[in-house]
């Protein structure tokens, strides 16, 4: 079996390495771990080891030559007679991963040694959204040999972090995205989550206008590294004995650590389907609006038009967003009022009704909850949670209640109305 010998990437800002000297001659027998050649970068000189036993053949780069990172410069073969020159492969292009990440240049896990497959991300020295200079240290990597700081490599903004401290990232795998412009929605995710995301993502298409995949809808409460939930030993034991999932408290945004009394809160959370069931039993769409336009609008409506019932306005805005308008229940702090908006009438005509609602509007703007995942309910539910100056809007419904297109339209329209309620009147 043949193995290519490539120019390792010894630093993030490194495009090429200079071969200082060959320590083995073509045809030499080599053992795994033998130093093959010395490489010099702008920072250091390093010996590169053979990753397999065999014979050094097909040497295609000579001493003193600058070789692009990733280029094949020799081969380890089973026979010393193998003299086909090694293919010069282009360095693997560092492309920004597809999907929904911000545009920018991808920072990859450097190869710090020839026999290294993965690097352990020790910690981030920058946070998503930070401005970074080319020489700023982005993160630290640990291999079996050493810990090394990895620089940004270019000026810009840290638009996405794709691995968390403590995670192993394959060599060459994306670790971060550096964008030229300040990112609107810096992304922070983990290797595990990125891998699991497609399965755990029931959203068929992303809702407008500023879509946010639901996997990033994490509570703002401090999360311990590695996703471990902080709970007292007793709380943990009781949860186990009673079949309660502490992760649901974390998902609902309750601050950690959890104690025994938090289990009461956990028990009172609406019965949610497990994560696996959610995927098949319900739709969950999340949208974000950078600004909550409702308070200003309701104040204006009250002052200029005498519409003093802010809930009626909220219900009407939601009703107008529904593919088939129906009664809307506004639920806040345990109080529920249901409004109906007669077809073809204006916002001011929303009336209280006793009819069963077609949509529940759960207003959690005054709460500390930042994300909800209630699971399937009898009626589609649209939840408003605070996010900075703006809002996160979460629509949850069973597939039987609303099809994908309708759900997207409802959430998109409502998000637009919440951001700029006046637009509704135009």
């Amino acid at each position: 079996m043949q193995r290519d010998v490539t120019m390792p990437q010894l630093g993030m800002a490194q495009d090429a390495g200079k071969i200082v000297s060959w320590l083995k001659a073509p045809g030499d027998a080599v053992a795994k771990g033998d130093a093959l050649f010395e490489v010099e970068t702008d920072k250091a000189t390093m010996e590169v080891e053979a990753q397999a036993a065999g014979f050094l053949t097909g040497v295609s780069a000579s001493e003193g030559e600058d070789v692009p990172v990733g280029a094949v410069i020799a081969r380890i073969s089973d026979s010393a007679e193998d003299d086909t020159p090694a293919q010069t492969a282009a360095a693997p292009a560092a492309e920004a991963p597809a999907d929904d990440l911000p545009d920018g240049h991808s920072v990859t896990m450097p190869q710090l040694g020839m026999a290294q497959d993965t690097g352990l991300l020790v910690g981030w020295l920058k946070s998503p959204g930070d401005a970074v200079a080319a020489t700023d240290v982005l993160f630290e990597v640990e291999t079996d040999k050493s810990t090394m700081e990895v620089e940004a490599g270019r000026d810009g903004y840290l638009a996405a972090t794709l691995a968390q401290a403590g995670e192993e990232v394959p060599v060459g795998g994306p670790v971060a995205v550096i964008s030229e412009a300040a990112p609107a929605n810096p992304v922070a995710r983990s290797v595990a989550k990125a891998a699991a995301a497609p399965a755990a993502e029931p959203v068929p298409t992303r809702p407008q206008p500023t879509p946010e995949p639901s996997r990033t809808a994490q509570p703002a409460a401090p999360q311990p590294a590695g996703g471990r939930i902080l709970a007292s030993p007793k709380a943990r034991r009781l949860a186990l004995e009673q079949g309660l999932d502490l992760a649901r408290l974390a998902k609902a945004g309750y601050p950690q650590p959890y104690h025994v009394r938090d289990l009461d809160t956990l028990r009172s959370l609406p019965a949610a389907a497990s994560a696996a069931e959610v995927g098949t039993a319900s739709r969950r769409l999340v949208a974000e609006v950078p600004e909550d336009g409702l308070p200003g609008f309701t104040a204006w409506a009250a002052g200029a038009h005498g519409l003093s019932d802010a809930d009626a306005i909220l219900a009407a805005l939601a009703a107008c967003s529904m593919p088939v308008p129906g009664p809307v229940a506004v639920e806040r702090q345990g109080q529920t009022k249901t409004y109906a908006l007669p077809a073809g009438r204006g916002l001011s005509d929303a009336m209280e009704t006793d009819d069963a609602p077609a949509l529940i509007l759960r207003d959690l703007r005054g709460s500390r909850l930042t994300s909800v995942e209630m699971g399937g309910e009898a009626t589609p539910a649209l939840t408003l949670t605070p996010k900075g100056d703006g809002l996160t809007l979460t629509l949850e419904c069973a597939p039987s209640e609303m099809d994908a297109a309708d759900a997207i339209q409802l959430l998109s329209d409502f998000a637009g109305r919440v951001e700029q309620p006046l637009r509704h009147l135009l």
């Binding site: 007292s232 030993p233 007793k234 709380a235 943990r236 034991r237 650590p257 104690h259 025994v260 009394r261």
Partner: protein, 331 residues
């Protein structure tokens, strides 16, 4: 029931045992004529004479070594060490000799001696006369350690100590000698290794030794006003330790603070907290907290000395934090 001082209780216990068993004798600095600087032993020399109540020279290693020898050869000495701080002087006699004779002789020898000494700061006696060194003694296998928290315990534990065939060190708090408590007139003994639940509660357990039991009880009183129900347990002897009672209590309350007047680091509080962690871990809803004396030489300045030891206010404050589920980073 009649109330007597801790001082009287110790005196009664020793007198009763000396009457009961003529091999029991007493020695130490100023025990006979002066009846100790704290007047604990006043009157004993009049009843038992200078043959059984012996004033020694100021030579702690000498007379403690003498007591070890007397105990090995059939007597039951009670040695009085005027201040707990002088334990450093008798480490070899106590830890190398008394503690190990039974083991080294293959069980042929016993050392039925009692070393009475004291602990406790806030008496303005400065760094060399204010230490609480029970942890040093409790660390050595072969020594039992009793820590009475009132006149009642002082009498019952002293009588048990005198009858025990092993070396026992009793620490009395030198500030408590005049504190009164109900003590029965009829004879009673308090067995070693049996903790006393002084106050029942459901939210947090205070495990406290010696005078810290009073501190814990005052803290429990303050917390009751806040609706926090604290249980107070006095282990009475730290060697042997009644683990079962402590663990049972912590299983009930889920939280604990261990309070002892010795220095906090590597101390009695650390040992008890560790055992609770090991044996009641899955019942803990909060970290077990230690509260000992500050890790500094006991200051002479009253203002400084008073802040080096646990107080009811401090215990109550920590208890509130634990019950509220606050993260405790430092006590």
């Amino acid at each position: 029931m009649r109330e007597i001082t801790l001082s009287q209780a110790v005196n009664e216990a020793i007198a009763e045992e000396m009457r009961r068993d003529e091999t029991v004798f007493l020695m130490g600095e100023d025990v006979a004529e002066a009846g100790t600087p704290f007047k604990v032993l006043s009157g004993l020399v009049e009843e038992f004479g200078t043959q059984r109540v012996i004033d020694t020279p100021i030579a702690e290693p000498g007379f403690v070594g003498l007591a070890v020898g007397a105990a090995m050869t059939g007597a039951r000495p009670i040695v009085d060490l005027m201040f707990g701080d002088f334990l450093y002087l008798v480490m070899d006699q106590l830890c190398n000799q008394a503690a190990k004779q039974h083991y080294m002789s293959g069980g042929k020898l016993t050392v039925p001696m009692v070393l009475r000494t004291n602990l406790g700061a806030t008496r303005r006696s400065a760094a060399q006369h204010s230490q609480s060194l029970q942890a040093l003694v409790a660390h050595i296998p072969g020594l039992k350690v009793a820590m009475p928290s009132s006149a009642y315990e002082a009498k019952g534990l002293m009588k048990t100590a005198i009858r025990d065939n092993n070396p026992v060190v009793i620490f009395e708090d030198k500030l408590m000698y005049q504190d009164k408590a109900p003590v029965p007139e009829e004879e009673f003994l308090i067995p070693f290794g049996e903790a006393n639940v002084k106050r029942e509660g459901s939210d947090i357990t205070f495990i406290a030794t010696s005078s810290m039991v009073q501190v814990a009880e005052k803290a429990a009183e303050m917390l009751a006003a806040d609706g926090i129900s604290a249980e107070v347990i006095d282990p009475r002897t730290i060697v042997p330790l009644d683990e079962a009672t402590l663990i049972e209590s912590v299983k009930k309350t889920s939280r604990a603070i261990v309070i002892d007047e010795g220095h906090q680091s590597y101390g009695v509080t650390s040992e008890i907290a560790s055992r609770l962690n090991e044996k009641a871990f899955y019942h803990l809803d909060a970290p077990v907290l230690r509260m000992g004396a500050m890790d500094v030489p006991v200051p002479f300045s009253p203002a400084l000395e008073d802040i080096t030891v646990p107080t009811p206010e401090g215990v109550a404050e920590n208890a509130r934090k634990l019950c509220a589920g606050d993260m405790i980073h430092a006590a």
